[in-house]
Symmetry: C2
Subunit: 132 residues, 2 copies
Amino acid sequence: MKQVGTHLVVDAWEAPQDLLNDPEGIRRALIDAIVAGEATLIDLCVHQFSPHGVTATATLAESHIAIHTWPEHGYFAADLFFCGSGKPQQAMELLQRALQAKQIRFREISRGFDQTPDLNTIIGESYYQTVA
Amino acid sequence: MKQVGTHLVVDAWEAPQDLLNDPEGIRRALIDAIVAGEATLIDLCVHQFSPHGVTATATLAESHIAIHTWPEHGYFAADLFFCGSGKPQQAMELLQRALQAKQIRFREISRGFDQTPDLNTIIGESYYQTVA
C-alpha cells in the first residue's frame, strides 16, 4: 500500500457564531493550525461571504487545509490533507480549540497511488469530543 | 438530514506524466472544471514543486477544489466540495479528461450540519472508469 498521505474530513458543531464569521480570526486559526501541524504554508485565501460565512483554503507544501463555516448553524466543515511529514490531527485539534467547537467528528482517509482497496477508504473511526 | 453539500474524494491513475507536471495546464483544467461544474471561482493557487508535482487549490463560492499530482506515479489526488448549486461530478469528469487519467476512483461524502449518522459518511460507491 503506497500511502502518500492522510486526509481528515471534519465536521464541527456548537461553535460561537461570531468566531465562525470572523475572517481575520479564521486566518489566525489556520496559521496556528499549520504551525501545530508542523506544515509549511504556500498560499492562503480567506473569503467572507455575505451575509455570513467564511471560506478559507490554505495551500501547503504538504497538500491543503480547507474550512467552510456556517455561523448561523454554529457549524464548520474542514478537511486537512497532509502528505509526507506533518501532523494533521494536531492541526485539526488546534482549529477546534481556536473556533471553540464543542463537538467534532472526523473521518481519516488514507490516500495513495496504489489501486488497493484500502486506499481512499475511511480507516479512522468517527469521534465526538467535547471541549471545555 | 441537513445536507449542505457534496464532497467528492478522488484518486486518479495512469495519467501522462507531462500533464501532471504542467502547472499552466492544471490551471486551465481547473478553470474548465469550474465552468463544467457550474461553480464560481474566488481564488486560485497553483504551485509547482521541485523536482516534480503540482498542487492547486481553487476557492469557490460553492466551497473548494484541490488537486495534488505525483507525475512520477501518473497519479493525482483531488477533492471537490460543492455546497448549494453546482455539479461536482461534472467538474471531476472534466479534470479526469483534461489530465487523461485512464483510471479514476471516487467517494461521495454527504456533508452537513446535523449530527446524523448519515452525514460525513461515504454515500457513493467506488468507481473505476477507463477513458479512451
